[in-house]
Amino acid sequence: MSTLTAAAIEAEGLAKAFGRTRALDGLTLEVRRGEILGLIGPNGAGKSTFIKAIAGLVALDAGRVRVLGERPGRRVAGHIGYMTQSAALYEDLSVLENIGFFARVYGLSRVRAKARADELLALLRIQAKARQPVHELSGGQRQLANLACAMVHQPDLLLLDEPTVGIDPELRRELWREFAALRDAGVTVLVTTHVMDEADRCDRIAFLAEGRVLDVGTAAELRERAGAASVEEAFLRLRDGERS
């Protein structure tokens, strides 16, 4: 893996169609190392498809993507943490068993896996649920367990697909605090959301609509460029300008 490239993700002209739907339509974006970049856009803007393309789960029709200096795939997979949109966990296994399993999949030793699981359970404050099967957990607890599985191997790049959906405001704030702590530790975080108030917590924001990036910048920059009072308004103005 090349450590020389400054960008964690370089995407250029990505295109992907599912039947007649163009999920990605010439998406170009650079994500810097050690930043939280928020992908913001309505449903169907291509956020999840972009995340999947980075995770190597989508065969692109066109374009070029480099992740940590490599093409998406097994070589770089060990450095990426991928938190799926819905909690992709084994329902019949306990939280601890789920974390342990993904730790082993990412090549951690049994001892290291156990230690890491304990760390994460404490960090995300779900120790009390550790031995409970996932199907007994609430939506928010599932998301935390889901996040723990994505972070178990201490990835350099964390892909979070709508991590705060269905989570109460208090827990959401805690999660964002955790993302910031990870960023401070040098982890690159790419997070999708369609909750505009989360945008301010990102270092930079990329507005996505119809498979393309409308604009990228800090929340302040975006507001200023669009002459809008809020990120939400900035997005709507940009999108309407694009359409007209």
Binding site: Y82, T84, Y90
Partner: protein
């Protein structure tokens, strides 16, 4: 009624949007009925019964040639060898039908008062044997000029090449290989296909594919996880058949295990591969009869493969169940060694290898 009606309508609507399930609802019963209809019908291929030239010209030989479902093959010599090699399913040994009086002393099968035609079969296929016996008995009754009443056919002496002389396989001994094979296939396929479908629909497969795990590691992992359960089930079925039902195991039990192991390895991967073509549990469940029943019907479990229409026999050669049942019958009934079932073992090995390859290909295609 309004609420129940809404529920009924909801189900019908869901089917309308789920084209694949709808197609399966129509296709599965048609395929199954077409197969059964064909198999219970009269238009099957005749069974080949070998006779020597002299026998062919005898009244019994001529009468046998006239029997429905029987094709008399005239051989120069070595009737037993022809049966052994599977060139004919049975052979009629006694050249001339002898009346009890005339036959006394001429044939070992002739005792004062009775003289029986002698047929040779492998002894591993009860259905074939019974069909040949019936045909010879009818022919023999014809020669004697007696009217043939069902259940009152004249006796026939049967020599079973693959069984100890004088022994006759019980129905359960004959059925056990088919039962063990069918259940091993069914249980393994159900478990793996549904489990893998859940892996895919829950998103955990995406998570695995985004990790450094290799495709072959996923397949090997699945095999390792399901093999113990498949083994438990196969052992229970086999053990019950042997211990409680007294099914015969003349050959090596290890060879039985090897056959089942190869079958199960293939079926685990078949389950994984086919689960990709199903969007939900409903569809996977419908794959079960579609995959299993043709193999059960055409694999020689109820009807001997020899009586099938030629193209269907080619199909049955492709089925793992055909080879597993054939091999298990030879091992369990005939006490055959590994050499005797080498072709079947090779076929099962090829099936397992092909299914692993299919699994890898299908996992690759999982990338959208």
């Amino acid at each position: 009624m309004g609420r129940a009606g809404a529920l009924a309508l909801r189900i019908v609507r869901a089917f309308r949007h789920d084209r694949r399930t709808l197609a399966l609802v129509v296709i599965v019963p048609l395929v199954v009925m077409a197969l059964i209809g064909y198999l219970v019908g009269d238009n099957k291929e005749p069974l080949k019964v070998g006779v020597l030239t002299s026998t062919a010209a005898s009244p019994l030989g001529e009468a046998l040639a006239g029997q429905p479902g029987i094709d008399v093959v005239v051989l120069q010599r070595d009737l037993r060898g022809a049966v052994k090699r599977g060139e004919v399913v049975g052979a009629l040994l006694s050249g001339v039908y002898l009346t009890p009086a005339a036959g006394a002393g001429l044939s070992p099968m002739c005792t004062p008062g009775a003289c029986l035609p002698v047929i040779v079969v492998s002894g591993e296929d009860v259905q074939v044997e019974s069909a040949v016996v019936q045909a010879v008995a009818r022919a023999s009754a014809q020669v004697q000029g007696t009217a043939v009443a069902p259940g009152e056919l004249p006796g026939v002496h049967v020599e079973r090449l693959d069984l100890p002389s004088g022994s006759r396989p019980s129905t359960i001994s004959f059925a056990a290989p088919a039962m063990v094979t069918t259940f091993a296939f069914l249980f393994t396929f159900m478990l793996t296909s549904v489990a893998f479908l859940r892996e895919r629909s829950s998103g955990t497969l995406d998570r695995l594919l985004a990790s450094p795990i290799a495709k072959w590691e996923i397949l090997i992992g699945y095999l390792g996880g399901f093999l113990p359960f498949a083994a438990i089930q196969a052992t229970l079925v086999l053990g019950y058949a042997i211990v409680v039902l007294h099914a015969r195991v003349a050959g090596s039990l290890w060879l039985v295990v090897l056959v089942l192991l190869l079958l199960v390895i293939g079926v685990v991967n078949l389950g994984i591969a086919l689960s990709f073509f199903a969007r939900n549990e409903l569809q996977v469940i419908q794959f079960i009869p579609l995959v299993l029943l043709p193999q059960v019907f055409l694999g020689g479990l109820f009807w001997p493969v020899q009586v099938l229409w030629r193209p269907l026999t080619w199909l049955s050669v492709l089925f793992p169940v055909t080879h597993a049942v054939h091999a298990l019958r030879h091992v369990m009934l005939g006490g055959e060694g590994a050499g005797g079932i080498a072709t079947d073992l090779g076929a099962l090995l090829a099936f397992a290898a092909a299914m692993i390859l299919l699994g890898v290909l299908v996992l690759r295609r999982q990338r959208a």
